[in-house]
Amino acid sequence: MTPKELQILSARFGRDNGHKLAVYEAEGGYTALRMALSGMQPSEVREVVKDAGLRGRGGAGFPTGVKWGFVPEGADMIYFMVNADESEPGTFKDRYLLDYDPHQTIEGTIISCFAVNARTAFIYIRGEFGWLVDRVQKAVDEAYAAGYLGRNILGSGYDLDMIVHKGAGAYICGEETGLINSIEGRKGQPSIKPPFPAVQGFLDKPTIVNNVESVASVPWILNNGAAAYKAIGTEKSCGTKLFSVSGPVKRPGVYEIPLGLSFREFFHEWLGGMADGEELKAVIVGGSSVPVLPAADIMNCNLDYESLGQAGTMLGSGGMIVIPERSDMVELIQVLMHFYYDESCGQCTPCREGTGWLYRIVKRLRGGEGSAKDLDLIEHVCGGMAGLTICPLADAAVMPMRSFLDKFRPEFEALIREPVPAVSSSRWPRGEQE
């Protein structure tokens, strides 16, 4: 559905041969790398990307070119990590990028490494993507064989080593310092800042961590120029973004859209609206950690950072979860609260204890054992978590919790007045701990 001229990232999605080096090269692959290494300075590459207005596509939305500028001058060793730990519920776009077009990510990474003078790059792929790790490794091997990686790349004098690193099941490794600690051979617990990773990261050396989609955008930007990228999207939300769409729409999947596209058009034209027999109730637009919007609210939004921000939510990772009318919102928030309880790294007290507490309160509520004060208690717990922790996981739990309670309060209150017996015969989630 993406017009060809906007297929910055998705040109080879859905194909069964797009991952091959020969195909990638035939379609213009590694041209940008040649251009960067043969005639540009690292600082010039940084300028182009900064000028293009590319923002971190993992969820934080921080300007990529600006982040690259934080690396101190003259460092003796700089590391680059590609964050392919994609674990945000509702998000599955980096999977598509690595599965269908690994060379694009590889090329983008090499250029990005050149831009910050990094000499070793890691691609940190979540363990649950074990089924595509071999494909990525094979692509990396192809790149080495073709002279795009290793020593003296394309005769430029630039060396880069690239290691594919597999995670082992921890959402928190998607936080950049958690990722760094994980590769160091520790638990993937985020680090306190300062120091900041760009100055003191992996093995205490300057380290840049970028999302897959961010680096995958770089070759096109270099090939077509910053102005062309800025011409797409809006003033503060340049370029295209991959939206992962799940839920009972007619055509779920991963879509590359120009930022600023209206949700209404996206929903009806691109997604085909709800599947037969389903009605739209609400949408979580940016991965589970952003506030939910009822149908009426999201319909008036454009899919960009500012418009969604003004509507009280966030673009985040672009993991769009479409919630149908039949859904029990308290049941859904219990699912999410279990997720954060499961994934909290446990380091800092407000998140460690708060995520568990929120889950248990909601579970009790759903089990018919909640009282009216539990709704106030939920807000009280949220207040003891948000903004008080080492990393934003606590906020990521609090934002959906608060928004569900705020936008769908009657469903919570109904549970107090008329207790709902536990409907499921299965003891879900994973049964060893309540």
Binding site: T349, P350, R352, L388
Partner: protein, 518 residues
């Protein structure tokens, strides 16, 4: 230097000062905290020390913030107080609150913080509380209660960075996270009990102290560990004449905030069953009047040899020297090979006596056992053994048994067994004195508990003997120290009776003008 404002007070501190410390100075009390410890790496996990720094969007932890010129900080406003209260609540929701059976009660960070910042009614349902394993022995000295743990990670950092032994870790994630030792590993390094000191709650507690005494009943007295030449500064916690435990006392020049387990257990010597409770003459218990007469009679008849010990205080050694001089007796110490062991790279010294440096200062030669035995055999008159257990070395013990030996000591072992006249002296926690450690530091220790049985202050006993010989004798410890200072040529110092709590190295204190090889 940086000028900043904390709670309306402007201060100036050196660059690189931690905001946590600057706030503590201004407030007169530390910010609430668990994970911060001045001798450990910053963790930043308890989140309690958060303060408001104007211009920053969120509260920030003071332990990981360095002061900056122009900073304006609030530590007591509503926002900060509310955060502290809520974060404290988070620490408590899964805490068992079993204070009635917890040794930490009375010196517990949670209790203390709750009284200052909490004072709320608990909102968590009992059914929602997470339970973990309690009462797990993790080493010879330490027992762990995982439920009480607030996961501050101090113990993990201590084992990783201070002892370098890395026994402890935090396993699992989320609220299933728990402190512990790795399977198959024990917390058995020689500093394990420091983890109990630094644990702010009752998660890590001492097996030795378990259920022994409520801490608010204990009185603290400054002491110096007698276990080795390091002379770790300690706090002797006691009640009604019994010592219950030792804690390290911070001295950044000597032992930092730590002490070793071996030293920590030495309090047991004070009350063990072998303490000499009464004087003994020719194997039969007697009283001090009789014993004192027997001692005086022997001294009048002649004193052949004085055997001192590196366990004697500096004051006692001084009086022993005066006695030897008055009677023309030899003065030695030994056996030199006794009280030796392996040292480590932290605090434990291979010299397992607290005052060998004192012997050296007073010019008292230490002899190896064989030679000491010969000197005893050829003493020609009464041999006075003061302090230590030289009789533990067989050849010395035999020589003592053959001689007319008087023993002024604390325990009924080989030396007391070999002596004709046994005089019970005070154990290290039962008297005041000065030890000189391996740095040449004069460190004073104070009397914590009353003396066992009929044990007497050793310096008084020696003073009485001198008096009986019509020699000048000090009437008080203060007078004695005055004599000592003169004898050691230390008049330029404050009177030795006023040693500062952290001890003093006389040559350093005197400065370059004092001479010597400075």
């Amino acid at each position: 230097m940086a000028k900043l404002t904390i709670d309306g007070t402007e201060i100036e501190v050196p660059d690189g000062t931690r905001l946590f410390d600057a706030c503590a100075d201004v407030r007169g009390q530390a910010l609430p905290h668990f994970c911060y410890h001045p001798d450990l790496a910053i963790a930043g996990v308890c989140r309690l020390c958060q303060v408001e720094v104007e211009g920053m969007p969120k509260l920030t932890i003071a332990c990981n913030t360095m002061v900056r010129d122009g900073m304006v900080v609030h530590t007591r406003n509503d926002k900060v107080r509310a955060a502290a209260k809520q974060i404290l609540e988070m620490h408590l929701i899964n805490h068992p609150v079993d204070c009635p059976i917890c040794d930490q009660a009375g010196e517990c960070g949670l209790q203390d913080q709750y009284m200052i910042y909490g004072l709320y009614d608990a909102e968590v349902e009992q059914a929602d509380k997470v339970h973990k394993e309690k009462a797990q022995v993790i080493g010879p000295h330490v027992i762990l209660d995982k439920e009480r743990c607030v996961l501050c990670s101090r113990c993990v950092r201590f084992c990783a960075d201070v002892t370098g032994t890395g026994e402890m870790g935090i396993f699992n994630r989320g609220d299933r996270a728990e402190i512990g030792v790795a399977p198959g590993v024990e917390l058995d390094n020689n500093y394990s009990l420091n983890t109990v000191d630094i644990c702010p709650v009752g998660a890590l507690t001492s097996r030795d102290f378990r259920f022994e005494k409520r801490v608010w009943m204990l009185k603290p007295t400054d002491g110096i560990c007698p276990g080795c030449a390091t002379g770790c500064n300690v706090r002797i916690d006691h009640e009604a004449g019994r010592v219950y435990r030792l804690k390290p006392r911070r001295n950044d020049a000597v032992n930092g905030a730590w002490m070793c387990d071996k030293g920590r257990m030495l309090y047991k010597d004070v009350h063990d069953e072998h303490r000499l409770g009464a004087p003994r003459l020719e194997g039969a218990d007697t009283d001090w009047a009789t014993a004192g007469q027997a001692f005086a009679a022997r001294m009048a008849a002649g004193l052949g040899l004085v055997v001192a010990s590196p366990h004697c205080s500096l004051e006692e050694l001084h009086l022993l020297k005066r006695l030897a001089e008055a009677k023309g007796a030899g003065l030695v110490a030994g056996p030199a090979e006794a009280d030796r062991g392996d040292g480590d790279s932290l605090l434990l010294d291979g010299d397992r006596a607290p005052n060998r440096a004192g012997l050296a200062l007073l010019g008292i030669e230490e002899l190896p056992g064989a030679e000491l035995a010969n000197r005893i055999a050829s003493a020609g008159a009464t041999v006075l053994v003061a302090g230590g257990e030289p009789g533990d070395v067989a050849v010395v013990g035999e020589a003592l048994r053959a001689a007319d030996t008087v023993f002024l000591g604390t325990h009924d072992r080989a030396t007391a067994g070999a002596a004709r006249l046994v005089l019970p002296g005070a154990a290290w926690a039962e008297k005041a004195g000065i030890f000189v450690n391996r740095q040449g530091r004069f460190q004073r220790f104070l009397q914590a508990v009353v003396r066992t049985g009929q044990a007497r202050d050793d310096w008084r006993v020696l003073g009485e003997v001198l008096s009986g010989l019509d020699q000048p004798h000090p009437g008080s410890l203060r007078e004695l120290r005055g004599e000592l200072a003169q004898a050691l040529d230390l008049e330029h110092l404050e009177h030795l009776d006023n040693l500062p709590a952290g001890g003093l190295v006389p040559r350093e204190a005197a400065g370059p003008a004092a001479g010597g090889d400075a």
